[in-house]
Symmetry: C2
């Protein structure tokens, strides 16, 4: 048996259905853990925190020590790529990320070839984490997908409906698509660097894939994702890639078939019966418990865990949330979740 | 030929495919019109504006005079029902609605039977508008759906992901569903009153139907909507009802089949090919141009109009946006849209 075959998460990504399924949680290294908040307080701001390999490695390992999750996901942020592209990014406490708003017509001003240099601390985080992990734990690297990253770059931060980014995509397709290619190419370099630093799985977060009409979804979600996957493979990286086009709705099957990803992460709103019937046969899925059910706990949490286990029975499945864990979740609810998955009902 | 049969919008809602399709725009009475801003400035706040039948009737008629849309939708707001339930609602300029946060465990404190009294000015708006409309123009009344209204009541305003409302729905189903019944019953009374005041079509806006797992969608979207439709029909009201569960994604077909609505309004993200194959045969659809394409104008707007006309050819179709028109849309873009629909490519 190879070392990889011993890891439940890699076995599932290779097409094997496991009972119980491997489990990890989006944002498992996060504020719901007191030990995270203690380490976070040592960094002077959020960006510095991401760029401090010792601190980032420590919080990456915390949820593994406490819960024995089947995967550790490197601690970082999806908005590091804009920094590598020469954009300024900062975080306002209690509000979220801020960027200097960027007009896609200026896409040729975006930096190229600085990824390895500027984001080298993230590789260092992976190198620090890897030897500390239990043999059965898989190390995941990640990046934001170009559309999601572009919405923050154009809007200057989070926004209710990414309206300015959509208008820009409609108004000047040549400039917009040029910008997307720059972001995609930098993202591919970043992911290759992560794999070379020890990441055994790569995940692409397209957190704002929702609400797009089909022609835009094709242009800003499918095409750039395909470009990244192709570039990563062309660089000789063979690790599984999980795609997460959150909110893709009826367009999930197209994303699953046309981007070249290995596995698809689903959001809370996806009807499993529908997804079972339309996703490519045997493609591993990840997800997709409602974080609000985890926050609620009790019978609702047990019921939703059981429903998802039943729904995905027989398909290679990685248990996860449909969105990140929220800071207000009691640790006891995470323990309840894990007991329900691992020990049964 | 009856008067109704002469109105293109009612013909489509009766199952007839029209070329070109009738067209109106969500939030067509809105800030993108200078004449709207002029009237809006006469009211001391947004709630007073909604409760001033002369002002509300005037802004309802403005887009009909300017563009000859096929429908006038009464000017009001989805957050008037909480007022009828005894909750305080106010609007903060530039920010949006505010409410005193409500805990569903207190649902028995919600007022009953005050709808006709408190919301009578909305009936008056309809009575003022009706005789002023051209013969071919249909008058639409509306309400927010219980889930969407409940999210504002619980969160105390808009929120990024309606998280507190979802947690409440999971944690205390009995209280939550009791609250939903109260909201649904008040909403049904309100819609019956609108029909009696002259509304020829009723629309239910479930603006926040997105992101719900199937069991919650069943409980908070389908069941309360069915309750409203049943109550409206039991009161002898026979006008068509358009349902708009925005963001329902793969659950649109269940909503279309199980709520008793006449027609389904679709959001921007719905793939028309998929929807054609899964929606009930012959059910009229409304939608669903990206408001960002309308803002962009030019070739993108023409292309998207053509795509939607082609996609829905042969099905009873009301052309509309997939979400409300934004305040920054030039009037010339609305004119371009109408010319493209009515005069062809």
């Amino acid at each position: 048996m190879t070392r990889n075959a011993q890891k439940p998460l890699l076995a599932v990504l290779a097409g094997e259905a496991r009972t119980p399924p491997p489990v990890w949680l989006m944002r498992q290294a996060g504020r719901y853990l007191s030990e995270y908040r203690e380490v976070r307080a040592r960094a002077k701001n959020f960006i510095d925190f991401c760029f401090s390999p010792d601190l980032a490695a420590e919080v990456t390992l915390q949820p593994i020590r406490r819960f024995g999750f089947d995967a550790a996901i490197m601690f970082a942020d999806i908005l590091l790529i804009p920094i590598a592209l020469g954009r300024k990014v900062w975080f306002v406490a209690g509000e979220g990320p801020r960027l200097e708003p960027f007009d896609p017509v200026n896409f040729e001003q975006l930096e190229r070839g600085k990824v390895d240099e500027i984001l080298s601390p993230i590789g260092e985080t992976l190198r620090l984490v890897k030897p500390e992990l239990p043999d059965e734990t898989t190390l995941i690297g990640f990046a934001g997908s170009p559309w999601t990253v572009a919405t923050y770059m154009i809007e200057g931060g989070g926004s209710k409906d990414r309206f300015s980014a959509r208008v820009a995509a409609w108004q000047n397709p040549a400039a917009f698509d040029g910008m997307m290619d720059r972001i995609a190419d930098a993202t591919a370099e970043y992911l290759v660097m992560q794999a070379n630093a020890g990441a055994e799985v790569l995940k692409l977060f397209d957190s704002w894939a929702e609400g797009l009409p089909e022609p835009l979804f094709e242009r800003v979600i499918i095409r750039p994702t395909r470009r990244i996957v192709d570039a990563v493979r062309a660089a000789g990286v063979t690790v599984p890639i999980i795609g997460f086009p959150r909110g893709a709705g009826t367009l999930y099957p197209r994303y699953a078939r046309e981007t070249g990803i290995t596995a698809i992460a689903l959001d809370t709103s996806v009807d499993p019966d529908w997804a079972q019937s339309v996703l490519p046969e045997g493609m591993p899925v990840q997800g997709h418990l409602d974080p609000a059910a985890l926050r609620a706990g009790g019978a609702a949490l047990d019921g939703e865990v059981d429903r998802l286990l039943d729904s995905w029975s027989g398909r290679p499945h990685i248990f996860n949330l449909g969105h990140g864990i929220t800071p207000d979740v009691p640790v006891a609810h995470v323990e309840q979740l894990l007991a329900r998955i691992r020990n049964g009902r």
